[in-house]
């Protein structure tokens, strides 16, 4: 397949992935509520749109497979095929296959045998479903019209006039399937196909639709429901619906509005039982006279109300529904797709702007020019706004990432035979796009672990007095300038003894060591550590948790564990909100400059002289451990006589950093340190000051950890 990978095709790939996502969500919703007609529609719509779009690009493999799936879906939509759990599983597998096909195309890969056999297997399973559904059509034969002695009167049925747009077929929609679907709402009493619009053979495009339909439908459904049948083709189709018992005048209105010959339509209506011949003749005659007066045409809604065919509320409801649809469209139009690279380069530029702005500020301060200082501060405020705005462009809600886990939880719980539900909280919490992209893998690992190791089997759960269904909870919220993501399970909790035994076996700890819970839990992040008695194909191989921690640390984040035996465990991931620019607090130690994120700074206090030797401070009755940066970083030079303490807080811990100078707030554009410094702990990056000097960004959690280990070591010595 030779492809011109144009922009349109990229859009197709992006949209297909979005649609597949929708499809998956709808299928999972159907698993709990198989009667959700809206969800069935959503699945159908997704498959249908993908097929249509793939057809435009000539992606035959995608079209052919999706077409098969769509056929079965249509059966489901028409209630011809019950939606069993097995069928949902099959559709999920189909969805995955479509995704694979789309991915293959986007990577310009060739279909290998694996994919082909898989596709064929799924295809044959689909055909099997169709075979089962090979029951007589739901359409009942039309009954005799205007029966003389029967109880039915003509006024009982809805009358629908359908004129499909020429492009419906090209858009991948078949008018027949809409009529079949319509038949599920009731009984099609009469259907007339109109070919009047069919042009002469030479001018006829076989891929255009020229047919119109007059349908008489006996149904309990209301107008909105009938209208919704044609939801997919609303823009591509002229639809007129007359309620049962509509007045003759309304039919005349209809006849006048339709393109076909008036007499012929009249006859049709008589044939379909909507009108009697006498009514038609009389009315046509009256209309002839009236049309001479040339009254302005009233809007249909007004006519309907005036003729008391439809209550005003109904028209109101219909109008507001239309308005909703229009609003939704305009909302979609308010989004602009932007290439992520463009955003990145914008953020980089804003970063440079912040640095340059700081430089200008410094110059202004040096010249002691009041007017200039004022305009510089005005500019600085604007730069700050631009920075915030640019950063916000990259913010996305974490909900989408969370929702992806519904599938993971479903599949894994099937695989390991446990009944587990996924609860999601804080889905609207926003964080940086790059963080969201990179957090998926570690989260998957934690969720799988929670399901496999955390949650007990149903028997054990019942014996422990818990509900048989286990739950895994994903939560996100903002906290102290960062974002916290929690994976919580209500399982058995971590087994302290087993972890300790394993750690001794591996020589990670000594026999005599007494460890706090927190330290014990952290052991599971050591490479090659696994306490699972049985290795499943999900987890328990001991690879993973160390990778999880490494991934999170690469995002300048941290992970901690809370666990209670028999109650469950919580894995708490803390991440910085953004990776590029932060509000920092600038400090001086010796000749160097250091920055900590402003959100971690609680307060600054002066360190009283003469108390140098102690490593803690009495802060309003609270013991505050001190970390002397000069000593800790092994800097040269004598400390100044007056030193300051910056009180920082992180992950619930507080400490004081002892520094020489406080230099105030500073917008830090974080530049990563080179590979050479990758092993340096306690420093997460560098930034450039207005003067051109380099300042180091301190990694507060790591510093605190290190200070704690140092202290413990000093105590033991």
């Amino acid at each position: 397949m030779s492809l011109d990978l144009g922009d349109a095709l990229h859009t197709f790939f992006a949209e297909s992935r979005g649609l597949l996502q929708d499809m998956e969500e709808a299928l999972l919703r159907l698993e709990t509520a198989p009667d959700d007609a809206e969800a069935v529609n959503a699945v159908f719509r997704a498959a249908h749109t993908i097929k249509g779009a793939a057809g435009l690009f000539g992606l035959d493999a995608v079209v052919a497979f999706t077409h098969k799936a769509e056929n079965v879906l249509e059966q489901v939509r028409n209630n011809a095929l019950p939606l069993t759990e097995e069928l949902i599983g099959l559709f999920l597998a189909c969805r995955d296959h479509i995704e694979r096909l789309v991915d293959l195309t986007s990577a310009q890969g060739e279909m290998d045998d694996d994919v082909r056999t898989q596709g064929e297997a799924l295809g044959s399973r689909l055909s099997l479903c169709m075979g089962d559904a090979d029951v007589p059509l739901p359409v009942e034969a039309a009954s005799p019209v205007v029966s003389a002695g029967g109880g039915r009167t003509a006024g009982e049925a809805w009358h629908l006039s359908l004129r499909f747009g020429q492009d419906v077929l090209k858009n991948g929609m078949d008018p027949l399937s809409f009529i079949r679907y319509l038949a599920t709402l009731g009984e099609i009493r009469h259907l007339a196909t109109l070919a009047d619009a069919l042009p002469a053979a030479a001018g006829m495009d076989p891929e255009c639709c020229y047919l119109g339909f007059e349908i008489s439908l006996k149904s309990e459904a209301d107008k909105a429901r009938i209208e919704s049948v044609f939801e997919f083709v609303r823009d591509d189709c002229q639809l007129r619906i007359l309620a049962p018992g509509s007045r003759v005048a309304d039919f005349l209105e209809l006849i006048a509005a339709l393109p076909e010959d008036r007499t012929r339509l009249g006859e049709l209506l008589v044939a379909s039982g909507a009108l009697t011949q006498r009514e038609l003749d009389e009315s046509l005659a009256i209309q002839e006279c009236e049309s001479a007066r040339q009254e302005p045409v009233q809007p249909l809604g007004e006519i309907l109300v005036e003729h008391q065919m439809v209550q005003p509320e109904l028209v109101g409801a219909a109008l507001s529904k239309q308005k909703d649809a229009r609003q939704r469209q305009s909302q979609e139009a308010r989004f602009v797709r932007v290439h992520a690279d463009k955003l990145d380069s914008l953020i980089n530029l804003v970063g440079e702007l912040v640095i340059a702005g700081a430089g200008v500020g410094l110059m202004a301060a040096r010249h002691q020019d009041g007017a200039m200082a004022e305009s510089v501060s005005g500019m600085a405020r604007l730069v700050e706004d631009i920075r915030d705005g640019a950063m916000r462009l990259r913010m996305v809600e974490i909900g989408d990432t969370f929702n992806r886990f519904r599938r993971v939880v479903r599949d894994v719980s099937k695989e390991i035979g446990k009944d587990i539900e996924l609860l999601i909280g804080g889905a609207d919490t926003e964080l940086d796009k790059t963080v969201v992209d990179k957090i998926g893998d570690p989260l998957t690992h934690l969720v799988r672990n929670a399901m496999d190791h955390g949650i007990e089997s149903a028997q054990v759960r019942l014996a422990r007095g818990k509900p048989a269904q286990g739950s895994v909870r994903l939560d996100a919220y903002h906290d102290a300038g960062g974002i916290v993501i929690e994976v919580t399970d209500d399982g058995g909790g971590l087994n302290r003894d087993r972890i300790l035994a394993k750690a001794r076996e591996r020589g990670l700890i000594q026999d005599g060591d007494s460890l706090a819970d927190r330290e014990v839990w952290n052991l599971i992040f050591e490479p090659g550590f696994s306490t699972a008695e049985q290795v499943s194909n999900l987890s328990g191989r001991g690879v993973g948790m160390d990778v999880v921690r490494r991934n999170i640390e690469a995002l300048r984040g941290s992970v901690e564990i809370e666990s209670q035996p028999g109650v469950g465990s919580t894995f708490r991931i803390r991440l910085p909100l953004t990776l590029a620019i932060i509000d920092g607090f600038l400090m001086g130690v010796a000749d160097g400059h250091y920055v900590v994120p402003l959100d971690t700074v609680l307060e600054c206090v002066e360190l009283e002289a003469g108390r140098d030797e102690r490593d803690f401070l009495n802060l309003r009755g609270e013991v505050l451990p001190l970390l002397r940066l000069r000593q800790h970083l092994a800097l040269q030079g004598r400390p100044l006589r007056r030193q300051n303490v910056v009180v920082v807080r992180c992950a619930g811990r507080k400490a004081g950093l002892v520094v020489d100078e406080l230099k105030g707030e500073f917008q830090a554009v974080i530049k990563p340190l080179g590979q050479v410094f990758s092993r340096v702990r306690g420093i997460s990056g560098s930034t450039i000051l207005g003067s051109g000097q380099v300042a180091l960004v301190l990694d507060v959690p790591a510093l605190l950890d290190e200070a704690a280990t140092d202290q413990a070591a000093a105590l033991q010595a």
Binding site: P136, A141, V145, L169, I188, A201, C209
Partner: protein, 114 residues
């Protein structure tokens, strides 16, 4: 879509096999029109039609109309279940006016159609 044609004296008989859908419509239209130009009497055998959508019906309707306009005879025969289903749904049996062999279940209902 495959078309096989046989000539029985004056009658040109076309056997269609495959799908009469939007995917084959563009190819089918010229082929069928061309065939119609070759004979005064045409019979289209639909026994091999596995699937039919609006474009397929529409094409048959076009042929029927063109044939009538040119004073030719066009018959449809051997309607496959897929074709019958569509004709029944759209109430087109009478429109074409060809005898249809109906499966047992559908036959009774069909006779009630006006």
């Amino acid at each position: 879509m495959e078309i096989r044609s046989e000539r029985h004296e004056a009658c040109l008989r076309l056997y269609l096999a495959g799908e009469m859908t939007i995917y084959s419509a563009a190819e089918l239209k010229p082929a069928l029109l061309d065939a119609m130009g070759q004979s005064e009497e045409i019979e289209i055998d639909l026994a091999g039609v596995g699937e039919m959508d609006t474009s397929g019906v529409q094409l048959l309707m076009l042929l029927k109309r063109e044939a009538a306009a040119a004073g030719k005879t066009l018959r449809l025969a051997g309607h496959s279940p897929a074709v019958l289903e569509v004709f029944e749904l759209l109430g087109l049996g009478n429109w074409f006016g060809d005898p249809q062999l109906l499966p047992a279940g559908l036959g009774a209902a069909w006779e009630a159609t006006p």
